[in-house]
């Protein structure tokens, strides 16, 4: 026999209880992992190599407020810009779906090409899209989700714009952080709306990351005190702006996480003290045989740590497997795209679970340490 055999035998002494304890820790750890992933999904937009080179310029009033199309010529004159395209959110309803989770944007394909930094065309042909005014380029995820192929048509009902779209799929792209979007010709939108002379936003690519701040300042300055003032932001800052708009959601999730950790602590603490209190007498016998306080402390901590670490491993592993293997996009109707359980999240949840095991065993360990052999022997006698 080794010390570990002894600890293991103790941990498995009441197998049903051990299973229940491990399971409850596992459920809580899985929840904690998932909630942290949710929080990350909502508050940390996916990063991409191209994002550091791209700028989004919107109307200073709000994102919804359009910009005059004539600004294009002036923006193009700003040095340091590789390309700029109108970028207008169409907000259509696909095939009368109640909620369409992928966005459609009107762009100028010729100008848009160099903005697709990390993306590549994996189906159809970019040139074909550029040539056909009524065609579109669709993200691979959307193609897959609806079982579409190049040449199929996609119909959208305009909820923001008073027009509907009927687009032929000419190209498929992938490799961006969000391979869901549908891009179509801004010219088509202009035609259908009777040429409003406006665009939603401007989307730019800058020569190098160092030039981004300068270009942003130049754009903001160029349109200051005009009828349509502009707010230019790096793509990253733009995304973070969305996070800010969600308001107290992050705080809410943090609160829920706190409650989960609290519950987890409670459950494991109660189980551990139940487990140890039943063994007070045995602990006293061990003391009589010459085991020291720290030996017993070690046994108890090892058992508590072991059970909660096992539970944590099962729960975190389960959550990781579930969120990695399941099609999160399909499951949530496209609300969440990445839902990546990062090593950092898993490590945090693991540390929480393991620490809780230790904290939970501290109480019983202390009372065992305080207990005198004689009084311990008398329990249940």
């Amino acid at each position: 026999m080794t010390t570990w055999t002894f600890i293991l035998k103790n941990a498995l002494r009441n197998p049903r209880r051990s299973v229940l304890t491990v399971s409850s820790v596992a459920v809580s750890a899985a929840l904690l992992t998932s909630m942290m992933t949710l929080q990350r999904e909502l508050t940390v937009p996916p990063e991409s190599e191209g994002a550091s080179l791209r700028i989004i310029a919107r109307n200073k009033v709000s994102l919804v407020q359009p910009l005059p199309a004539r600004q294009l010529a002036e923006i193009e004159r700003i040095p340091g810009i590789v390309a700029v395209t109108p970028f207008t959110y169409f907000g259509g309803q696909y095939n009368d779906e109640e909620f369409t989770s992928f966005a459609q944007f009107a762009v100028e394909p010729r100008r848009f090409r160099s903005l697709l930094v990390e993306g590549r065309v994996s189906g159809g042909d970019y040139d074909a899209w550029e040539k056909d005014r009524t065609s579109c380029m669709v993200g691979r995820d959307t193609m897959k989700r609806y079982g579409l192929k190049v040449g199929d048509r996609m119909k959208f009902r305009g909820t923001f714009y008073p027009c509907d779209l009927d687009l032929r799929i000419a190209a498929v792209f992938e490799g961006t952080v969000d391979d869901r979007g549908v891009f179509f010709h801004h010219k088509l939108l202009d035609e259908l709306t009777g040429d409003l002379g406006t665009v939603g936003t401007w989307y730019l690519r800058v020569e190098s990351a160092e030039k981004v701040p300068g270009v942003i300042a130049a754009i903001d300055g160029r349109f200051a005190n005009t009828a349509a003032e502009v707010r230019a932001e790096s793509e990253r800052a733009f995304q973070m702006g969305f996070v800010g708009m969600l308001g107290n959601v992050a705080a809410l999730i943090r609160t829920v996480n706190g409650v989960i950790v609290f519950t987890l602590a409670l459950v494991s603490a109660s189980t551990m003290s139940m487990t140890i209190r039943e063994r007070f007498r045995e602990m006293a016998v061990l003391k009589a045989l010459g085991y020291k306080r720290r030996d017993l402390l070690g046994f108890i901590l090892a058992e508590g740590f072991g059970l909660s670490a096992l539970g944590g491993a099962v729960g975190i592993g389960g959550a990781w497997a579930a969120w990695t293997l399941l099609d999160i996009q399909r499951l949530t109707g496209g609300i969440f795209i990445v839902f990546e359980v990062t090593p950092r999240i898993m490590a945090t949840a693991g540390v929480v679970a393991a620490l809780l095991g230790i904290v939970a065993s501290l109480g019983p360990a202390i009372s065992v340490g305080r207990m005198s052999v004689v009084s311990g022997l008398k329990t249940l006698d």
């Binding site: 304890t21 973070m240 829920v256």
Partner: protein, 417 residues
């Protein structure tokens, strides 16, 4: 929300709790043991009892609070509008901010028959402009979107639930804005006298109104024509009107929707808003998922406690069986104990969640694309749901241990130490 309805709800909740307690006493009677026996057992094992109660309380509190949040969002939509009003928006638009009604359409519809007239003899109709401005939050960095509604004079008349509580209404032709008081707390510049930037334009806050818990509590109002100028918009977003009577409303709606020049949709204002609850959906979804997952953990914890209770009382159970108590009685006895624990947890959880009641918060509304403010609403029916949920957890957690107790053979029960 009628407070009368809420009073009935509380009465119903009290009745439900009484009924549940009656059921428990009946179960205890079935066991043939006074309920005090169960209660004392719960108290004696106070450590694990407290842990179980707190665990269940946490689950119930999270569940009820999240549902209360969704309920708050739904409530603000549900309590918006006047049943006598007709709202006209563009066909296919999902929110007023995505709707378009041209000035010409407005002029034509304004002249339709069936519209109520005010004291001055003018038809009661308001052509409105809905725009979004990005403005600095009052707390923390960053900006959020706020919905600005341009209304004509009839706009206030059509919405009796909106009351001015501070300052005055805007004057037509001036760049003035009156902000919902609850929204004003969430933006830096929305206080009385504040200057709200809309691009180059500056809007002065001259008053605060109270929307009575409706969706208007998330809006800022200004003169419609000023709004068209500030936001550089030719058309309006929507029309709100009051037909003379319900029959006239039907005719009017049919006429507007039937007119091929328009492509407009006319809907009862109350019905229109009651459908604007998409933002509540993901919250309800998360509440359900969290509720189920956390309750699984709580069931495991309750099972642990109950199994330990059964194991520690093997001798006692044997004695009861020797005294003539049936297996069924033993099962009932342990189920009652589980139910007591979980009911206590449920009550505590509901009590904790109740603290969030009335808590004002805000988030991005997916449909209007602007900040929506709402209050957590912990209503009696939600608390009843939370309690039922708790008792279900308790019963699920104690069933297997209770069955195990019932299987304890009489003899071995007496022998075991």
């Amino acid at each position: 929300m009628g407070t009368g309805g809420e009073a009935w709800g509380w009465l119903g909740l009290a009745g439900g709790v009484a009924a549940a307690f009656g059921l428990m006493s009946w179960l205890a009677r079935l066991a043939g043991l006074p309920i005090q026996y169960n209660l004392r057992n719960v108290v004696v094992r106070w450590r694990s009892s407290v842990a179980t109660v707190l665990g269940i309380a946490a689950v119930v509190a999270v569940f009820v609070a999240l549902r209360a949040m969704a309920r708050g969002i739904e409530a603000s939509s549900a309590s918006t509008g006047d049943p006598d009003n007709l709202l006209v928006v563009r066909k296919g638009s999902q929110a007023e901010s995505g709707s378009l009604v041209t000035r010409e359409q407005f002029r034509i519809i304004e002249s339709f028959e069936g519209l109520a007239r005010n004291a001055a003899g003018r038809p009661v109709i308001s052509a409105e402009v809905v725009a979004i401005i990005s403005s600095a939050r009052s707390q923390g960095p960053g900006e959020a979107n706020a919905l600005v509604r341009g209304v004509t004079a009839s706009g206030m008349e059509l919405r009796p639930q909106v009351r001015l509580v501070e300052g005055r209404w805007f004057e037509p032709g001036r760049r003035e804005v009156v902000v919902a008081r609850s929204l004003s707390r969430r933006f830096r510049d929305f206080g009385m006298g504040g200057e709200v930037k809309a691009g180059r334009a500056r809007l002065r806050v001259v008053g605060h109104f109270d929307g009575g818990g409706s969706a208007f509590d998330s809006e800022a109002w200004m003169d419609a024509d000023e709004a068209r100028a500030v936001f550089d918009r030719e058309p309006y977003s929507s029309l709100l009107m009051r037909p003379t009577d319900p029959a006239a409303a039907k005719v009017l709606a049919a006429r507007i929707e039937g007119d091929r020049r328009f492509s407009l949709r006319a809907e009862n204002e109350v019905e229109y808003y009651s459908k604007q609850t998409m933002t509540a959906k993901p919250i309800k979804y998360i509440a359900a998922v969290l509720g189920v997952a956390m309750s699984v953990g709580a069931v495991f914890a309750a099972m642990n406690t109950m199994y330990a209770s059964v194991a520690a009382r093997t001798r006692e159970i044997g004695t009861l069986r020797v005294l003539g108590y049936s297996r069924r009685a033993v099962v009932a006895c342990f189920m009652v104990e589980g139910a007591c624990l979980s009911a206590a947890g449920g009550l505590l959880g509901c009590g904790l969640a109740r603290f969030t009641n009335g808590l004002a918060t805000g988030t991005l509304d997916f449909q209007s694309f602007a900040e929506t403010v709402f209050q957590f609403r912990v209503t009696p029916d939600l608390m009843g749901l939370g309690l039922a949920f708790a008792v279900a957890i308790g019963l699920a957690g104690s069933l297997l241990p209770a069955l195990r107790a019932a299987r304890t053979p009489v003899i071995s029960a007496l022998k075991s130490a």
